[in-house]
């Protein structure tokens, strides 16, 4: 027969003990010990709950309430202690799991496009925005397409301007096979293909012809004997030299920024008339002259109005149509853009070069 007051006192002592022990919960085992001492079936709380039924009726509700409050108190103490324990553990783990964030990351093997392809894509995108579509043309050409139809007659001194590789194919007379010396045969092939769509009223032409060309030339840091060229051709009923200047200046702006300027110098190419070489103002020195450029301008390529004979050879009546054409070395642009010092790097395919792009 439990005494009412004794139970109340026990609960009170238990409460004080619990408050003291809760403060001692520092890890899982001290937490478990607290739970066993105060919240298990052998705890003071459980005893007092057991004892209720042997009390006199009047005391039953009082002890019941006290036990209940005590239980809530203990549970709260326990939950709080566990929460603060978890928080401490998290803090400890965060401060112990500190990486050396300066160590290198896991290496990834990325695939890359050749720098020539990268710059060519950029150029093709620029001209595509201006309505120029890509036309591709063969690398081994006949003399007829590489020279004669482009207004280089057999034996003409202009042929000395383009040192030529001839293919060893006998009995071709004045029409030997050559490695194309420029992408310009693509002009004839493109015009003929497009004119054939409607020979009596040929559609306008606006194409860009990228591709490998070949010159018989000793190789050094600035000269290659195989190089990538980009040819542009626009033929229509209102194409002018001023359009040529504007188009290439637009290209220069896209490549080198909105302040880019171009310069056109009179020149000679058999397949254009008037002919011009075009320069872009040096982006390093803005025209003042520096080690990259020499006199403030970077020589880029050749251009001009399509010669009447060439228009005619392409199937376009020169009395009705005019056209402009231009061509330049793709690697030249890449070398300027990426500060490449040696043109021989391009086809040498040293991975230590290619993996920089």
């Amino acid at each position: 027969m439990a005494d009412y007051e004794e139970i109340i006192n026990k609960l009170k002592t238990d409460r004080e003990n619990a408050a003291r022990d809760a403060a001692l919960i520092v890890d899982e085992s001290s937490a478990a010990k607290f739970k066993t001492t105060y919240l298990s079936p052998s705890s003071v709380l459980a005893e007092s709950t057991q004892a209720i039924k042997s009390l006199d009726g009047q005391f039953k509700p009082l002890v019941g309430q006290a036990s209940n409050e005590h239980k809530q108190y203990l549970t709260r103490l326990y939950d709080q202690a566990i929460a603060s324990l978890k928080e401490k553990q998290l803090k400890a783990s965060l401060s112990s799991e500190k990486l050396d964030i300066t160590l290198p990351g896991r290496p990834v093997h990325r695939g890359r496009l050749h720098p020539d392809t990268q710059i060519l894509r950029e150029l093709l995108a620029i001209f595509s925005d201006m309505g120029f579509q890509v036309f591709q043309s063969r690398e081994v050409e006949t003399d007829e397409y590489n020279f004669q139809l482009l207004n280089f007659p057999v034996g003409h001194p202009a042929r000395d301007m383009q040192d030529t590789y001839f293919m060893d194919v006998p009995d071709r007379g004045d029409n030997p096979l050559v490695l194309r010396t420029h992408t310009s045969p693509g002009q004839i092939r493109a015009m003929r293909e497009i004119a054939a769509l409607n020979p009596s009223d040929p559609p306008p032409v606006r194409v860009i012809v990228p591709g490998m060309v070949y010159r018989y030339e000793q190789v050094d840091v600035r000269h290659e004997t195989q190089f990538d060229q980009l040819e542009g051709l626009a033929v229509g009923e209102g194409i002018t030299f001023s359009d040529l200047k504007g188009t290439l200046t637009d290209m220069a702006r896209r490549l080198f920024g909105p302040d880019a300027r171009t310069r056109f110098r009179a020149s000679y190419f058999p397949f254009t008339e008037p002919s011009a070489e075009f320069d872009i103002q040096c982006f390093q020195c803005k025209g003042a002259g520096c080690g990259v450029c020499g006199g403030g301008w970077l020589e880029i390529g050749g251009s001009g109005m399509v010669h009447p004979n060439v228009l005619r050879n392409g199937g376009y009546d020169p009395a009705r149509f005019t056209g402009f054409a231009f061509g330049f070395g793709v690697q030249r642009i890449a070398m300027l853009r990426y500060g490449i010092n040696d043109i021989r790097y391009f086809w040498d395919n040293d991975l230590r070069f290619l993996e920089q792009f």
């Binding site: 290496p107 093997h109 579509q133 000395d160 293919m167 004997t225 006199g295």
Partner: protein
């Protein structure tokens, strides 16, 4: 073409700094490659794109002086002492110049020698060093005699390479005059494009300078002696006017052959020619000045060959087997097509290229027959090339010399010879001009200019620009009729002539003054370029798969490419396209194989790479039956993998060497991404590959390519260095075919709406049965409900037993319209295992 400004100024006033002039010429199509100053200040670097050379002469320290006496040196035979007056005082100057020795010890000279005198502290080129090295003249003692000044050679002043003797100046010069005031000059070196043949002369360049700067041209006028077609001393026969449109002969008697005047020699040197004697110099001087190459014959030799009769000059093409000993004493075999100047006794010279030895002008020549002609430039070009005889004359004739210039050239030559060699020119010229050149007449309108250039110019302005270039012009309304002047042959007729004139208008108006516009024409039909688009897609997929793109030279050799096959295997028997004039044998053949290029690249990189994952897209060249004779240019895709699978870092990586299945993964992913239908692989048999690790890549029945591990006997034909041990894997794919199989449209599957049932199935079957057979059968039986099938384990040995393998698959069952029941799945599963057993003898592994 080297042009001294002083010579240009004979014909046009130049009031611009030389750098500005060089810029204007360059912009107008005559690129000035070099500016060499002779004593004048150097242009600012950066003010011109031309190379600069030469140096500025100090006005005080470099002056004209006169040598009044040449005395022997007391201690040295090879030195002399000169008594010299520099206009202020007398000096004794030491020199070793051999060209003073003839004056040694003869006392005071009756006619003092005018020389270039350098005082202490003057800047000069060092005459004793190779090349041009500037040095400062210092006081020193030579053989006991104090020396603080010197008499200059041409090299020391930067005039020529001459350093043997000192330079003599015009006897009329006054001592003390700053040297720069007498000799100061600048020489521009102009790179002449083929269309600027008319500028291969001082007068030609002066004409352009006049046109560009708007100054008048003071062209020389010749009082013409009457011309005839023959005379008492010579007659002409041109057998083919297309080879030789015009031939002019002059005669000058009683010439005294001696050195030319100093100022003439000086000009020739500045223009890059060596003075020889007054006759040769006169021909060269006239050529440089007017652009007409001349040839001087010893008339008496020809007269003798004609047995004392009048000389008959015949021009014709060479016949087979003819030879001529040219004046360089080389006997030359002549090609047919070589144009010859002959007399009735035989060949005299190679027209426009080089004279014969026999009729050459010598020290004893007295009478000169002077030739000025025009020749077919294509023939001269061929001859100059075949005989390897580039010369100042052939330089001009191979670019075209207008026939009208022959006459003026001969007149100028005779004039100079009479002046310098005291000869007496015959009043007659003999002239044959069977095919007179008709000057083209071209009409252009303001509308033409607008149509070509996008520029509004008045007819008057157009006419004015053309008149500056000596076109005869006539304006009527909007139209200008222009007649070509008689020194140029680059202007065509009709619409070509229009284009030619438009260029001249643009050039003289200035390209800078033409606006920049955007194309106003309608945009042409936009069809794109599907081949390029697809090729670029392949490139992107391969780079996404971790591959590096390479681009190789197209040339190779059969031996180099032959390494892609084992030594004892049959060689590549397709004939190569060969270059007739390669830079080197290594660059003489166009490649047959992109894989060969990849192997070469990998070989070069093996020393410094641990992983190579490469691809190249490009043409291979194969002879074809096409009537054009052009080869087939087939686009190939080559892939090469070798080395460790993942790059190493400081953490553990998969450093095992890549194998066949790495390559297959790349190829499979590529083909799947391109939506190529019905891809399958068959064991392949190709000599480049390991016989057990080679597959044919097929789409349906079409063979896309071959892939596998490179045959060990091929691998050992390349030098991989000491460290690179990994197998080499390669694929060779016909890109043209692959691109043609990419469907224009592909279908995307919906995301499944109902849950899947996933089960594993492990089977044991004979080693000899390819895995693909089991997979095909499972898919076939699984039908539509089998949404996915993946092999996740391959096991051999243990309880599996000898000659068997175990394949474990993960099967995903799914229906698009409902959740599958257990019994539906069980039915399919049972059918699959039954069929595997029946058809492949494959047992379920428990």
């Amino acid at each position: 073409m080297k042009a001294p400004l002083s010579w240009l100024e004979d014909f046009v006033e130049i009031d611009l700094p030389v750098a500005r002039l060089a810029h204007l010429l360059t912009m107008a199509g005559m690129e000035v490659e070099e500016i060499r100053v002779i004593g004048l200040p150097l242009p600012e670097p950066g003010s011109t794109t031309a190379q600069l050379s030469g140096f500025e002469w100090d006005r005080e320290k470099l002056v004209v002086a006169e040598v009044t006496e040449v005395m022997p040196h007391p201690n040295a035979d090879r030195l002399v002492l000169c008594k010299l007056n520099d206009g202020k005082q007398e000096h004794i100057v030491l020199t070793g110049a051999p060209n003073l020795f003839e004056y040694k010890g003869i006392g005071t000279l009756a006619q003092p020698l005018k020389v270039a005198y350098a005082k202490e502290g003057a800047q000069l080129y060092d005459g004793h060093q190779d090349g041009l090295v500037l040095t400062t003249l210092k006081r020193t003692k030579i053989r006991g005699v104090e020396s603080y000044s010197m008499i200059c050679s041409e090299k020391e002043l930067g005039i020529s390479d001459e350093h043997e003797g000192i330079m003599f100046l015009d006897p009329a010069l006054v001592p003390g005059t700053p040297l720069v005031d007498v000799l100061g000059d600048a020489v521009i070196d102009v790179n002449l494009l083929p269309s600027f043949a008319r500028c291969a002369s001082i007068l030609g360049l002066a004409r352009e300078v006049a046109a560009i700067t708007g100054k008048p041209l003071n062209a020389p006028r010749f009082s013409p002696p009457p011309a005839t077609s023959d005379s008492a001393w010579a007659s002409l026969e041109i057998t083919d006017p297309s080879l030789n449109p015009r031939f002019v002969l002059g005669l000058i008697r009683d010439v005294k052959i001696q050195p030319s005047p100093e100022r003439v020699q000086h000009r020739l040197k500045l223009a890059g020619m060596r003075p020889i004697n007054n006759i040769v110099d006169a021909t060269n001087y006239a050529m440089l000045e007017l652009g007409e190459p001349l040839h001087a014959f010893d008339y008496d030799v020809l007269h003798k060959r004609a047995n004392g009769n009048a000389v008959k000059i015949i021009t014709r093409a060479a016949r087979q087997g003819e030879t001529l000993t040219t004046l360089d004493n080389v006997e030359r075999k002549l090609d047919e097509g070589t144009i010859l100047v002959c007399d009735e006794a035989g060949i005299l010279s190679l027209a426009g290229v080089m004279g014969g030895l026999e009729s050459e002008v010598t020290a004893t020549t007295r009478n000169i027959l002077l030739e000025g002609a025009s020749w077919n430039m294509i023939h001269v070009r061929r001859t100059a090339k075949a005989q390897n005889l580039p010369s100042e004359a052939s330089y001009r004739f191979t670019r075209g010399v207008h026939p009208s210039m022959a006459e003026n050239g001969v007149r100028r030559g005779l004039q100079l010879m009479s002046e310098w060699a005291q000869g007496k020119p015959d009043p007659l010229l003999v002239d044959a001009y069977p095919k007179p050149f008709t000057a083209p007449e071209v009409e252009i309108t303001t509308q033409d200019v607008k149509r070509w250039l996008g520029l509004e110019l008045s007819a008057v302005r157009i006419a004015e620009l053309l008149a500056r270039l000596e076109f005869k012009v006539e304006v009527s309304g909007d139209s200008v009729r222009a007649t070509c002047p008689d020194h140029r042959m680059d202007i065509g007729e009709g619409i070509t002539g229009k284009a030619d004139l438009i260029e001249e208008v643009a050039r003289i108006h200035g390209y800078d003054n033409i606006p920049e516009t955007r194309i106003k024409d309608a945009l042409p039909l936009q069809l794109g370029n599907p081949t390029l688009r697809r090729t670029d897609h392949v490139r992107d997929l391969l780079t996404a798969l971790g591959l590096q793109e390479i681009i190789s030279y197209r040339w190779t050799t059969p031996e180099k490419e032959g390494r892609r096959l084992p030594k004892d295997a049959a060689t590549d028997d397709k004939p190569y396209m060969r270059i007739a004039n390669p830079l080197a044998y290594e660059k003489a053949f166009l490649r047959h194989s992109v894989v060969a290029s990849l192997l070469d690249t990998a070989e070069r990189n093996a020393r410094h790479a641990v992983k190579m994952a490469l691809f190249e897209i490009g043409p291979v060249f194969l002879q074809s039956e096409d009537p054009s004779g052009l080869p087939d240019e087939l686009t190939s895709l080559g892939v090469l993998l070798a080395g460790q699978r993942s790059p190493s870092g400081w953490q553990k990586a998969d450093t095992a060497a890549m194998d066949y299945y790495d390559l297959k993964g790349v190829v499979e992913d590529l083909l799947e991404s391109l939506h190529i239908a019905d891809v399958n692989f068959k064991p392949g048999d190709h000599p480049s590959y390991h016989p057990g690790k080679c597959a044919l890549i097929l789409a349906g029945e079409q063979q896309l390519g071959v892939m596998g591990e490179i045959h060990p006997a091929v691998r050992e034909r390349y030098d991989w260095g000491d460290t690179f041990k990994a197998p080499i894997l390669a694929a060779d794919i016909n890109l043209d075919l692959l691109l043609s199989l990419i469907p224009e449209l592909s279908r995307t599957k919906d995301i499944p709406a109902f849950p899947a049932v996933v089960e594993d199935l492990a089977i044991v079957l004979d080693e000899t049965i390819p895995a693909v057979d089991a997979e095909k059968l499972i898919r076939q039986v699984g039908g539509k409900l089998l949404a996915d099938l993946q092999l996740f384990d391959l096991f051999r040995g243990g309880q599996i037993g000898e000659g068997k393998k175990s394949l474990a698959y993960r099967l995903t069952y799914q229906a698009p319209d409902r959740t599958l029941t257990d019994s539906e799945v069980a039915q399919v599963r049972n059918r699959i295992s039954k069929r595997l057993d029946q058809e492949l003898g494959a047992k379920l592994r428990s």
